[in-house]
Structure formats: C-alpha cells, structure tokens
C-alpha cells in the first residue's frame, strides 16, 4: 500500500516525563524514534502503560514533549507555540480518533455541532446552508443518515458514536490521523465495521494513520508496519508480516505467544513465552536496523546474534 517512502512524520529521541523532579515522576516515553511514511498505516502495539497513548498525544501536541523532535512534513511541531498561526495550521493537518466513544462526544451538543466544530474553528464554511450540507456529506461518508445531525450523542450506539468521532476528525480534511485504540471499546462485530470504514477512507483520501491498539490480530489486519512498545521504548519496528512471522525481540515473541488460537487442538499446545524485561531492556541497548527495515532494541552483541540467526 505504500506508494512512496517519503516520511510524513519523523519522531526523533522523543522523551516525555510527567511530574519531572518530583516523587511521583513518570518517565512515559524514553528516547522514542521512528518515521511514519506518507499513506501508510503504522500500528503501535504494547501492553497497558507502555506509552502508546502518550506517544499519540505527544505527536498531536496534547502534551508538550519534554525533549526530542517531532517533525511533521519537515516542521518541528514540538516547538510550535499554542495559539500561533502555524499551530492552527498543524491542528488542521493532524486529527485524532479517541478510544471511548461515550466520552469523546460532548453530551450537550448536537451531532451537527460536534462535527462542524472544526469547520467553525478553521472557517471552512461560510453560511449555515453550506455548513449543514458539509455535515450531511460527512455523515454520509461514515455511513450515517442526514437526519442524525439534529440528534444528541446519547441516542447513538457505540459504533455509531465512533463513526461520528471519525466524521469530526475528517471535517478539517487532515493528512494524518492518530487512531487511539478506536475499536477497543466496541463489540467485535462493530470493530470490523469501524476498521473497514477507516481503511476505505484511507484508500479514498490517501490518509496516513498511526493506529494504536493492543489487539494484535486487528493491528496486523490494518497496518503496513508495526511498532512494538514496552516501558516507554520501542522494542521492535518492522513490516506487519515481518513482526508477525519473524519476531526478533523477546518481548515481541512473548506478545505473539499470548494470542489465543481459534483451534482447540493447537490452542491446547500453545505455551506462552515468559518475558523478563531485565534481560532485554536498558543498559547499552539502542534501536538498531538489524535487517533491512527491521529495527530491534538491542546491544551490539545481540544485534550480531540476531543477524547470525537469519
């Protein structure tokens, strides 16, 4: 699906620390670097608390990164000032789809006003008629009816609400969408519907996605490349197939071994691999390109061993 290999987002040595210097200091991201290419979907997986959501929020500047660079189309957005013209322009180019469809829509606003919020902020429509027409267009795009516009969020199901959230993000015509676990709060049947909708929209508009999730099978389905996170670090980054079939880092292996299989015979044989972070993280390790386009967080000795085994 990747047409050209020009990076749209370049993350360099991103560090995010909360409550720095206090007793409750949290080092949420420790030196994270990766690229997201134009038109691709990068899946970001990892266990709860590994820093997936923090990465997403730092990339969209909901958090002010402690240090490091986040280049969006060559511009360092970590240095943009809140309220500046460049910041407003960046807000149009990057959008986010949130995890909880019940919390991500203002319960006191009509669907029409929720979707049109971005249109109003960026002055994309100039008359109420144009606004209504654009909202109807966006609703149709996500498979909802025009007459849903005058209703309130509490009248919709989880899947419908998530589609309203997608319509809101699409309203400002962004290039890059960060989907922060958009399907983890939905029924399995609705998950497929939403993921397919995201895929269709990507094909139609040539969008770039950062897809954050912890469901590996869903991530493999939607992603071109997968990044695996643990303890605020990227431990492995490669194409979806590569991560799935030739995982190198012990954490990735452990994660994959935990996927249940829908076959009672092989499921009975499946042995989850235990993972000990002390033996595979920290120290002199760095994210190294072990094989072409396959990055692993490892020491020099481990890199040599990985290369040997292949």
């Amino acid at each position: 699906m990747i047409t050209d290999k020009t990076p749209l987002v370049q993350v360099r040595h991103l560090v995010q620390t909360f409550n720095a210097g206090k007793k409750d200091e949290v080092r949420a991201l420790q030196d994270v670097s990766f690229d997201i290419y134009k038109g691709e979907t990068l899946g970001l997986v990892g266990e709860s608390g590994s820093g997936k959501t923090t990465t997403g929020r730092a990339l969209i500047r909901l958090y002010q990164p402690t240090s490091g660079e986040v280049l969006f189309a060559g511009q360092d957005i970590a240095k943009l000032k809140n309220g500046s013209a460049q910041m407003l322009a960046f807000r149009r180019q990057t959008q986010m789809i949130f995890q909880d469809p019940y919390a991500s829509l203002n319960p006191r606003m009509k669907v029409k006003d929720i979707i049109a919020e971005g249109l109003d902020i960026h002055h994309l429509v100039h008359s109420p008629q144009e606004r209504d027409a654009r909202v109807a267009e966006l609703l149709a795009e996500v498979g909802l009816n025009e007459d849903h516009a005058s209703r309130y969020p509490h009248e919709f199901s989880g899947g419908q609400r998530q589609r309203i959230g997608i319509a809101r993000a699409l309203a400002v015509e962004p290039q890059f969408i960060i989907a922060d676990e958009p399907i983890s709060a939905l029924d399995v049947s609705i998950q497929a519907q939403v993921v397919n909708l995201l895929k269709d929209i990507q094909d139609k508009k040539g969008l770039t996605y950062l897809f954050i999730a912890h469901d590996l099978s869903m991530v493999k389905y939607i992603s071109d490349r997968i990044a695996v996170m643990h303890n605020g670090r990227l431990v492995e980054l490669a194409s979806a197939a590569e991560v799935y079939h030739h995982p190198l880092h012990p954490y990735t292996k452990s994660l994959l071994s935990a996927i249940p299989e829908p076959d009672p015979d092989s499921e009975r044989q499946r042995v989850p691999i235990a993972y000990d972070a002390r033996q595979a993280e920290g120290g002199q390790r760095q994210l190294v390109e072990v094989l072409p386009a396959h990055y692993v967080y490892a020491t020099a000795a481990e890199v040599a061993a990985y290369r040997q085994s292949n």
Binding site: Q95, I121, V172
Partner: protein, 335 residues
C-alpha cells in the same frame, strides 16, 4: 413449545432492511433541557414551589408600582390595628381585638382597611412585607450574580489552569472561607454604615466560595474528558472550550448550587436585620419586621406570624425547587 413444532420453515420470510434503515432512530429528538423539564414536571413539590416563587416574585415586583398603603407612612392614630378584610366578618380578620372593634375605637374612616394590620407606628404590615420581600429578592439576585460571575469564573479558571495558579487560588479561597460571615459583616460596619451596602459587600466576599469549589472539582473532571481533548486537537481556544464545552456540562451544577445559595443569602440578610446590624430602622425587610414583631409577640402576634410565614414559604419553596432541579438535571443522584 409444542405449538412451535408445527410451524413449517417456509412460514418464515427473510426481511430485507436497507442499511440506512438500520441506523434510523425513531424516538423524538429531545434536548437535554427538555428532558430535564420533563422530569421536573413529574415532581409535584417542585412545581408548586416554582409557582409559589413566581407569585411571590410578582407581588414583590408589583410593590415597586403599587402598595395598599405607603409602607413607611406613620400614623399614630392607627397603631396596632388588627387585620381587617373589608366588612367580611372572618375571625382574626375582622378588626376585633379582645372583642373590641379597634377600627371603631381608633375612629378609622370607613373604607380604610389594613389586610394584615398595622405596627406600633401605624404602618401597614402588608405593604411592609411586600417591600421587605423585595429587599430579600434583591439580595437573592445579588448573591446569584456573584455566584455566576465570580464563583463560576473563579472555579473554571482555577480548575482549567491547574498547577501553581490552582494552588494559589485554592489557598485564597481557604483563607476567605476560614473567616465566618458574621465577622466579615461586623468588620464591614467599621467602614460602612449598617445597611444594604455592607450586606452586599459581605455577600460579595463570601457567598461564591461553595460555587467556586464545586465548579473547580467538576472542571478538573471535565478537562481530561476526550471531547475536551478533541476540541483541543481541533484547535479550539481555551476560552471557546470553556464556553462551548465546560459551561454547558457544568450547567446542572450551576443551577442547583444557585438555588441553594439564594435561600442562604435571604436568610443571612434576615438574620442580620433581626439582630440589628442589617438594614437601618425605617427600611422594611423580613428581618426587621420579625425583629419588630417579636417585641409585640404577646399582644399582637400577627406582627410576627405573617413575616415569618413569608420567609418560611420562601425558604421551603427555594429548597424544594432546588431538590427538584437536582433530581431533574442529575437523575442518578436521586435517592
């Protein structure tokens, strides 16, 4: 169960439902406030309270234009006249005291009646109650104003900004709230003469504290909600977020807290006037009327009873309406 065995499979037909039809919502679109009003109307006590307050408000406002008698006009010939409702001979409302027609004894001209009697200076009690209620409602409006402007603004700024701004603002609130209201008023008396001004200043200093605290707590809860984050990622300014996202979601807290502030403020003024550091002598307020009335409690009990009834009804109505509004806006908190 047995009957179902005899249904042939071809009795069923596949229903074809269009994709758009599946998404159709049949229920009428109700706004949040419509929904709340529907629940409020089911609460009889709240509805009665609401209409009582409307009547009291209307009567008090009408007293600006017209009162039965001049509330401050003294006439020593008419002192301590009992209530008299025209020529209707209703017990307690026929102008008799201890079997003597006081109106005849004081040579009150025919056609002059005092519906709730007169006080020790011959002033009409009904007119004074109406004027006094107006003062109480004026105090209520002032307290509401400070609650809405200072309390809500202070709470939102404190909660939204967080960090050292929040810490500083909360310490200021703690200092203010640690000084009792009564002490503030007595200190005001050093600067101002006793009167409306010192009461208003005392309310301005202290009445918005509870509102500010509640709003801050709610704002802290709201600011991490995903719809607020979504507004941020869309590039909405903080002021617009406060206006479009915070205030509408705080509205139930604001309304309910206002309804609890009002009776407190009314009662505060009545209390100050009653103990004699509120409004000065000629002005009528529910507090001064109660104070005057209790002096003649054993001989002319109606002078105390009628103002007391008005203040009781005001308090009860505001509290019941506040309860009703809370249940209507926040159905989960009921019971």
């Amino acid at each position: 169960m047995a009957a179902s065995k005899h249904i042939a499979p071809d009795a069923f037909k596949l229903a074809h439902v269009a994709a758009t039809e599946k998404e159709y919502i049949a229920a009428p679109a109700l706004t949040f406030s419509q929904d709340a009003m529907r629940r409020l109307k089911q609460n009889k006590a709240a509805v009665i309270s609401f209409w009582l307050l409307v009547i009291i408000f209307a009567a008090a406002l009408l007293s600006l234009v017209i009162t039965p008698h001049d509330p401050n006009a003294q006439n020593l010939n008419y002192t301590y006249l009992p209530p008299k409702w025209g020529d209707l001979n209703i017990p307690f409302f026929n102008g008799h005291e201890n079997g003597i027609d006081m109106y005849a004894r004081n040579q009150v001209p025919k056609g002059t009646y005092f519906l709730l009697g007169t006080d020790y200076l011959g002033r009409d009690l009904l007119s004074r109650i109406l004027v006094g209620t107006r003062i109480s409602l004026f105090i209520a409006v002032i307290a509401t104003l400070f609650d809405l402007v200072v309390g809500v603004g202070y709470g939102i700024i404190s909660g939204w900004n967080g960090g050292w701004i929040d810490t500083l603002m909360q310490r200021v609130i703690e200092i203010i709230s640690s000084v009792p209201n009564l002490v503030v008023v007595i200190l005001m008396l050093l600067v101002f003469k006793p009167g409306l001004k010192s009461i208003i200043v005392a309310i301005a200093v202290t009445s918005w504290i509870t509102m500010a605290r509640l709003i801050r707590a709610q704002t802290l809860k709201l600011k991490d909600q995903e719809f607020v984050l979504a507004a941020k990622t869309l590039g909405e300014s903080s002021f617009q977020i406060a206006l479009k996202h915070l205030v509408p979601n705080l509205s139930s807290t604001i309304i309910i807290q206002t309804m609890f502030t009002i009776p407190t403020a009314i009662f505060f003024e009545a209390f100050l006037s009653y103990i004699g550091i509120g409004l000065p002598a000629p002005t009528a307020s529910l507090g001064t009327l109660l104070n005057d009335g209790q002096k003649a409690l054993q001989t002319q009990p109606y002078l105390l009873i009628y103002p007391a009834i008005v203040i009781v009804v005001l308090m009860l109505a505001f509290n019941l309406l506040a309860d009703g509004l809370r249940d209507a806006f926040d159905p989960r908190s009921a019971h």
